[in-house]
Symmetry: C2
Subunit: 296 residues, 2 copies
Amino acid sequence: MKQLHHVVVAGLGVLGAQIAYHIAYSGFAVTGYDVNQESLDAGRVRLEQLRDRYGTRALDRDPVKAQAGFERITLTTDLNEAAQGADLVIEAIPEDLEIKRSFYAKLGPMLAPTTIIATNTSTLLPSDMMDATGRPDRFLALHFANQIWRHNTAEVMGTSATDPAIYEQVVAFAKEIGMIPIEIKKEQAGYLLNSLLVPWLMAASSLFMDGVADPAMIDLTWRTATGAPTGPFQVFDVIGIRTAYAVSAAGDATQQAFANYLKEHLLDQGKLGVESGEGFYRYPVGDDQDLGTDGD
Amino acid sequence: MKQLHHVVVAGLGVLGAQIAYHIAYSGFAVTGYDVNQESLDAGRVRLEQLRDRYGTRALDRDPVKAQAGFERITLTTDLNEAAQGADLVIEAIPEDLEIKRSFYAKLGPMLAPTTIIATNTSTLLPSDMMDATGRPDRFLALHFANQIWRHNTAEVMGTSATDPAIYEQVVAFAKEIGMIPIEIKKEQAGYLLNSLLVPWLMAASSLFMDGVADPAMIDLTWRTATGAPTGPFQVFDVIGIRTAYAVSAAGDATQQAFANYLKEHLLDQGKLGVESGEGFYRYPVGDDQDLGTDGD
């Protein structure tokens, strides 16, 4: 039996819009909030595109069901209005600790004391924000993957202050919206997926930078030996070269050399990975190939 | 056009026998050498099993072709006899630097000066053995994967002393026997595959040891997000728990804790991974599931 009925999604960027639409599509009343009219209008366009995608190419491919989902979404720039009656707020605003903390400090007093808050942060730790929410026991991370209709995992990660009953409620909610809940038992930067991906990607980029082998050979090795559909440089293309650049630029000397390579050979030529049609490899225009990493 | 005709495989253990049989099956004359009659007899049994496997379950499933391959193999314990007329010697003897160096010191003077030597070492560096061969320019690593008929990669890795023309000859030979050559441009411990696998496996075992998530959840995350058929703990089962133990016991405190876990919860109960029918997971008896890592 549903314990959460009315969900607010704050921030209607690429992933925020997917979260909002997918939850509404799954039968919940959703309020989509964004900070100003311009952002909200951009969010509305994304929601319409998602409706069309679900109606024709994703999940049930049922235009009627897709439209019904769309109609369960209310949009507003008024946070106080959004907060009314919310059982769960999912925060998908920019990935900046101070922006998130300020948002929570403003939101918290507007919410009923029973409202649960979940952050969709990719890289920050919920424990660094929990006090700002005014309800650390009802606060946790619920991390979705880009292309939510295809990569249907939701990493659920509490802090030491999260009430286990709340954690279970959010796990149950994740199942209700068709997600496979990845239950993380202890706070971990990068959750599970990035904790596995990053060392693997770094090993691959180091082999390349050290002149041991080219990306195509490294990818071939991985695919052939493990049966995986994609090797690490294909994954870089999916994650996006901009994200790969940002991560490697913050690394050691070898990783910085890789960042320079990415800038010079890819970014400066507008090769952003799958999203632009070319990265380490070329992709057909409109290719949906994608990995469950994020972009919130 | 074939440049190498007569191939010696030294060491008929699990992988050595596969290499010998597969090359003979591909049409080459093969001499299988092992150090004494007992080892040679065990090798012969392995070769017969491979003939039966190829005849019924692998590649062409053609018993006549499989038998013809078997008949192209000559077995001997006489190294001098094995050395005569060899175009290429593939060394697959125990993974110990001194054993390998002694073997090369004995073998080198028996060979024609034109004979190429390739080591199938998994973990050692060819540059640490090359002087013992008496022909560093004609020496390199050619690293096969277990279940060669399925995991048909051959990592080709020279040293700084390897003649590029010899390297290319061995790459061409690898293709002639149906391998996908993984061309490694610079000496690298662990070649490409282990260089990618080890950091990924360590990240997974650390998440488990740190109490962040269980193996099943970690594997689920990887499979779901990347579309790969197996997560890291499934790969541990394929590699074998004994190997996983040996590698992690040599690592840092977290990895040593993982080694202790493996010993206490798996090895001491005879759970060796896929090979024994149980490791982190249970497997049907006779399951061929396997990854392209080794065991030479």
